[in-house]
Symmetry: C2
Subunit: 472 residues, 2 copies
């Protein structure tokens, strides 16, 4: 996968060397000679990866990285620190500053390219999710995502897979200081452990040095398991095993730790992975919320008019295909305006909420209830004929008539009634508009013939549920 | 990137061989011995790639592919046909059946793995987009995506980059039979051509045999250009140049055609790429539509209550930070219920729409207008003090008073009035709730002191716009 890479170094020769290598791999390259220019370039060109020298005059790489990660416009761009030093402290400092990885000079080309590919692949997916979220945020429907680099991730759930008893125990103890850890020391129990924790896992750490299992294959297999497909994986590898490291990154493993594990580095890498995961989850949750908001009536929690329209059309189409009956109720509270005028809108809202509850109680879970106007509701009832629909409507009507509404006012309770129109789909070429219109007309008749009633009534004046004689 | 691969072949030895190779690359493998089993397995396990033998007893590979592509549950899974034949007709048949590529036995491992990687990479992104769309479709907010393999894509826009005059002309003529093609025979004009066609391009075809340009670098560079980042690219390569082909797929080029170009194969591959592109665009458009629906009042096209709440909170926060004034209008049509009761809801809707237009005309584009209830509207006015807000409110009030509403009824026109409450943010520790409450109370006063008026009025009984004496 190609990418635009920003190379930052104060020594022109270093820039040239890295640039040539990257161009040879068909990457596009831009450059900066110090931290300030790097921040400018990053904001302006939004590169896919930043290769950032640590030792620079003025602002060093750590500070540059920190500023890039603090800025919502650049915080999503992966940063790889490039340093002449191979001090553990520096590695941890870089990771703590928000860097995604580091590499030491002279640069190991294979390792660097493998890391770049891995980071670009993750970034492409994140860009897609971010773009979607930005659309929502621009339109004010969902709040802008918080900066992931400030999120507290302690208590997150980690599954640690390691059959080396001593090392597993040490890592477990260390990680447990901040996280909720499950140690799996028998690789054959991995799948069941994952199933048990499905939906709660934030990170997998997998040793590649298992006694009877190929750890890399296990990690690779996780990427194809539904339950953990999108969960970050850190693999534990031997310090000199570059082949395994390259293959792992290529397979989609997110990061690695060299054994014996440096705990500070482990904490830095674990935090980075979990934060990225949480950020991604937050973006997805925002989307879910925006969708669910778009179809819900805020006051009652019932479906809204828009959802009803879509759903009703689908249900009618289905009924016409399967030749199964479908009925509709339109329900309106009688003299609702009096409630608002007498007690105010807040009390009116209380009454509407209680009415919603009564409708829910009197219908089946397969019926769809929507609030379609101020005090007007619709119930869509699949597999329901006129008589059954009438029964349900009567049940609602009686229930409302006999259940006083509790209100926040000295009066304490008030009595209300509803009028209900019923219609049933004509299976020989009816339409949604016809169906709704008939229910509307019935409601109109109910309102103009005394209210607190259900119309149309069945043919006989008082409803009698007649069973069709099936010959038995 | 790892993947779950379904291998379909009626010869067990072939299955074993391919399975061993794939396992060696750390892929997860499942198998099927004929087309029927393949369809079952695909529906059940949703593999990432299907390697499908052509010559099988019962149902051959073409038919199996067609059925997989016709089924919405499996149509998104890339299919690579594996055939002993190297007939051009077979290649085209496979592509026409919806296959994404084909490979001939004996299988060239490097080419196959490069193609699998490329297809998996594209699929991961598409899965993400599909998942989002499915959420929306499940909740009924957006319609389910049509099957991309039935979409008509003729007339789509193709940019063809080829400086070989004869070949370029031939390809241009052929492609122009179905598509709108722009031929760029001077590679230095690529960027300007792309900019001119920004937003309209569906496919790029790039020759890798340019005289003075590295075509692969050009293609790779396109992947980093904003305007065409997500547009599919097909590269034209020499038949024996496997290195280029592997590198191209690795860089994210979507597909390739061997020169001299077989036109039938070209049409099949072009169609596949454009269809996939259109499908992706449709999914994204669905999302945009669902978001915009979620924040819009259906009747008037103004913002809805939900959007207002989010937006008002942000605006208040900003005003408190910048110490700039902010005012609010709440507007309610007087005796609106009479319109509904006298002329019906349809006429009521007509009146509300015209009222919306009057509010829009009397306010600035920087003001935000929302319909917050039946006949109730709110206007949020940044950088507006009480006097300015009062002026605007008066402008709306007079305008409504003096402009009869045109209605679909024998009466022709009716006159209506509005009452408006005004409030201004107190920059010393005010809240959204306080601000809205004050506007609400003002509206209440306006309603109970005769209607058709704006309250609060400025200190002097009649509003006089006083300019602050700035010393000049």
């Amino acid at each position: 996968m190609t990418a635009l890479i920003l190379v930052v170094d104060d020594v022109p020769a270093n820039v040239k060397l890295l640039e040539a290598k990257l161009l040879g791999e068909y990457y596009d390259v831009i450059t900066a000679k110090d931290g300030f220019e790097a921040i400018d370039q990053a904001r302006k060109h939004k590169p896919d990866i930043i290769l950032l020298d640590v030792m620079m005059p003025g602002m060093d790489g750590f500070e540059t990285c920190r500023r890039l990660k603090d800025d919502p416009d650049t915080s999503h761009i992966p940063v790889v620190m490039v340093t002449a030093l191979n001090e553990k402290a520096d590695r941890v400092n870089g990771l703590e500053a928000g860097a995604d990885d580091f590499t030491t000079k002279p640069v190991n080309d294979a390792a660097l390219f493998a890391r770049i590919k891995s980071l670009v692949r993750i970034k492409v997916l994140m860009d897609e999710i971010r773009l979607r979220d930005k659309t929502g945020a621009d339109m004010g429907i969902i709040s802008n995502g918080e900066n992931s680099f400030t999120a507290d991730v302690s208590g997150s759930k980690i599954i640690l897979i390691d059959d080396d008893i001593a090392q597993g125990k040490h890592l477990f103890d260390k990680l447990s200081e901040y996280y909720t850890v499950t140690l799996v020391d028998n690789p054959s129990e991995v799948e069941s452990t994952i199933e048990q924790n499905r939906g709660a896992i934030d990170l997998l750490i997998i040793s590649t040095q298992l006694a009877d299992f190929d750890g890399l294959r296990l990690a690779s297999h996780m990427r194809n398991m539904d339950a953990v497909r999108n969960i970050p994986i850190i693999m534990l590898i031997e310090e000199d095993d570059q082949r395994l490291m390259l293959k792992g990154l290529d397979l989609g493993i997110n990061d690695y730790l060299l054994m014996p594990v440096d705990y500070n580095e482990m904490f830095a890498r674990v935090k980075t992975q979990i934060r990225r995961r949480k950020y991604q989850e937050m973006l997805k949750a925002n989307y879910q919320a925006s969708i669910s908001m778009a179809i819900t009536d805020k006051l009652t929690g019932l479906y809204n008019r828009h959802y009803l329209d879509t759903h009703l059309q689908n249900t009618v189409t289905q009924s016409l295909q399967t030749k199964k009956p479908l009925s509709l109720l339109i329900l309106d509270m009688d003299f609702f305006k009096l409630v608002n005028d007498t007690y105010g809108h807040d009390v009116g809202d209380e009454v509407l909420k209680q009415l919603s509850g009564m409708i829910i109680d009197a219908t089946r879970s397969s019926d769809l209830i929507a609030r379609i106007g101020g005090e007007e509701f619709m119930v869509v009832m699949p597999e329901t004929d006129t008589l059954q629909a009438y029964d349900t409507a009567e049940r609602i009507r009686r229930r409302v008539e006999n259940s006083p509404f509790k209100i926040s006012h000295a009066d304490g309770f008030i009595s209300k009634t509803v009028s209900i129109g019923v219609s049933t789909l004509n299976l020989h070429g009816d339409t949604v508009v016809d169906l709704a219109k008939r229910a509307d007309l019935s409601l109109y008749d109910a309102k103009h013939t005394g209210r607190n009633r259900v119309l149309p009534q069945p043919a006989s004046e008082r409803p009698v549920v007649e069973k069709v004689d099936t010959g038995f």
